[in-house]
């Protein structure tokens, strides 16, 4: 194709011709000759009529936990039958990324059948999704009057939150799946916890004989264990932390890390786990099993951004829980409790038989306040939050997570609440 520059030169030639006609002056008109020659020579010699290039790029790795350097490998090959003297390769990289190796705009020559590999490198950015590309190759003649363009689609670099190794909370939902897991099922079956004793019958495993009880009863007695099963869990991450301002980012990142860690733990234990992002940006991953599903959840969490919820949290939680989860399954809600309407939603869920655990990251107190009114506002906010916590503690398990305390310790202290719901 011809470029805007070619059009500009053409316009210049036309202006010169018209001026030459108006004056009239043939000497002026002769200035068109070098321009016409330039067009002709650039077209014929500058760039082959058929430019064949192969272009690809790859982000390595395209998902990461943010602890390794990222590379972008660009491969270009000239499959034309002539050398390309003026090739520009432009990899579109977000402004937030600073390249440590290579540059995003490369100018080079490509000999016939030459294959060129270029690598760009940068340290891993913070959590999020980053579009890398598209990469655009532009082959031009030396005067850039003509242009052939090739393009490779953009890829997405996902920096996911790294899940922490945590111990489990005492989850006791009433809905249990048929597969073995870690949640006590209140029935006999294979498990770790003692449940009952009975007389030995032929075929029982001799390892399960309780010798002390057998001696006492003068017959063989065996121990029976409580079955442990899996359940369905929906994790809800409330991204509304906007009232905290100074502590906002830290509070939000703790919530994201907690969601990732709990999801990994529950999936590792064999549970079916889903994820809901509730805030300005919403997202859902339907409950499923397995390692690949963990990636889906982490991929969703990578995109999480703090922001005020447009739709009330209680409505979203109640609606989606009923749509995506079987009755009486487990809900884990991670929320800084800025929206006190959440209490109504959770009350509805508990009434419907769902087991609910609320994990509440506590904000760090500001070091100083700019004004007295700001301090009063903060105290009022904290009071309101304390009221919400108090209301929630009556109906479900609530766990406050102060700054600096490992999540494992917080979760290990979770005990099943005895709901007190006034109907």
């Amino acid at each position: 194709m011809f470029t805007r520059k070619a059009s500009t030169y053409f316009a210049l030639a036309t202006i010169i011709l018209v001026l030459a006609l108006l004056i009239p002056d043939w000497q002026l008109a002769t200035l068109v000759l070098p321009l016409a020659s330039l067009f002709f020579l650039s077209n014929v010699w500058g760039l082959p009529e058929s430019v064949k290039v192969r272009l690809s790029h790859q982000v390595i790795p395209n998902d990461s936990f943010g602890d390794e350097d990222i590379r972008v490998r660009i491969e270009i090959s000239n499959e034309s039958n002539r050398k390309l003297g003026n090739v520009e390769v432009h990899e579109l990289i977000p402004d937030t990324i600073n390249l440590e190796r290579g540059v995003s705009r490369i100018r080079t020559q490509l000999r016939v059948l030459e294959k060129l590999e270029v690598q760009l490198g940068f340290p891993s950015p913070t959590r999020g999704h980053y579009p890398v590309g598209p990469v655009i190759l532009r082959a031009r003649d030396p005067f850039e009057l003509y242009l052939v363009e090739a393009k490779a689609d953009s890829e997405v670099l996902s920096i996911m939150p790294r899940p922490e190794r945590i111990r489990g909370a005492e989850l006791r939902p009433r809905h249990l799946g048929p597969w073995p897991g870690t949640i006590p099922a209140r029935t006999l079956g294979p498990g770790m916890e003692f449940y009952n004793m009975r007389g030995y019958v032929s075929g029982d495993d001799p390892k399960r004989i309780n010798w002390k009880a057998s001696a006492r009863h003068r017959r063989l007695i065996i121990n029976e264990t409580e079955a442990e099963r899996v359940t369905d869990v929906m994790i809800v991450l409330d991204t509304d932390v906007t009232f905290y301002e100074a502590a906002e980012a830290e509070l939000f990142e703790r919530g994201v890390r907690a969601a990732a860690s709990i999801a990994r733990l529950l999936l590792k234990q064999g549970n079916r786990v889903g994820m809901i992002l509730q805030g300005e940006e919403r997202g859902i991953v339907a409950p499923a099993f397995g390692k690949r599903h963990e990636r889906n959840i982490l991929f969703l969490l990578a995109a999480a951004m703090p922001g005020r919820a447009v739709i009330p949290t209680d409505y979203v939680v109640a609606l989606l829980a009923r749509l995506l989860l079987p009755a009486r399954a487990q809900m884990v809600i991670i929320s800084s409790l800025m929206d006190n309407t959440i209490v109504g939603g959770i009350r509805g869920l508990v009434t419907a038989g769902y087991s609910v655990l609320v994990l509440c990251p506590s904000p760090r107190d500001p070091v100083r306040f700019d004004s007295e009114s700001e301090e009063v506002a903060y105290r009022m906010l904290m009071l309101e939050r304390a009221n919400t916590l108090f209301a929630l503690e009556k109906i479900c398990s609530v766990s406050q997570w102060p700054l600096g305390v490992p999540l494992s310790i917080v979760l290990s202290k979770v005990r099943r609440a005895r709901p007190m719901i006034r109907v």
Partner: protein
């Protein structure tokens, strides 16, 4: 070049005009400001064409056609070469301080590209100038009357069509 323009056209300010144009161009090149460098080049093209028109209007002595062509082609060449040099400077700045294998290879390629671009531009512009002079000599053998406006306009139309063909032949417009 500017000193050949009749002094009345530039109100006798040839020296300041030379200083301003060259100063702006030099500043643009040194600071890597493409707009300034290109602006200086475009003003030179404007001065070449405007100077020629002014000479005709004021009835001043016409310069040699070959000299006029060389001046015009030289301005175009330096304008295009400055773009190449500015691109080189910009990318060289980005690569400065990067010592990894790929950055070093890219820098080497950038130098090769710059040399190749300047050589190719010089080659094409010299051939274009030579071709223009040859066409000028060939045109000199034919005698065409320019007194009739209709004929001249027709001739201009033919030239524009030829130019359009040269621009668009084998190429589509940029999207």
């Amino acid at each position: 070049m500017i000193f050949e323009i009749p002094s009345t056209v530039l109100f006798g300010l040839q020296v300041p005009v030379v200083l301003i144009v060259s100063g702006v161009g030099l500043f643009g090149m040194l600071r890597g400001e493409e707009i300034l460098a290109r602006g200086a080049s475009l003003s030179m093209i404007g001065l070449v064409i405007g100077g020629k028109v002014a000479e005709d209007v004021l009835g001043a002595a016409a310069p040699d056609t070959a000299v006029l062509l060389v001046q015009f082609v030289a301005v175009i060449f330096f304008m295009e070469a400055s773009r190449v040099v500015l691109s080189f400077n910009s990318e060289d700045r980005e690569l400065a301080g990067k010592r990894d294998e790929f950055s070093v290879a890219l820098k080497k390629r950038l130098v090769e590209w710059t040399q190749g671009q300047l050589v190719s531009q010089a080659r094409i512009i010299i051939i274009a100038l030579g071709l223009s002079l040859v066409l000028l000599i060939v045109g000199g053998f034919t005698s065409i009357s320019v007194n009739q406006l209709g004929f001249s306009a027709g001739l201009v139309l033919v030239v524009v069509v030829v130019l359009l063909y040269l621009v668009t032949n084998r190429r589509e417009p940029e999207r």
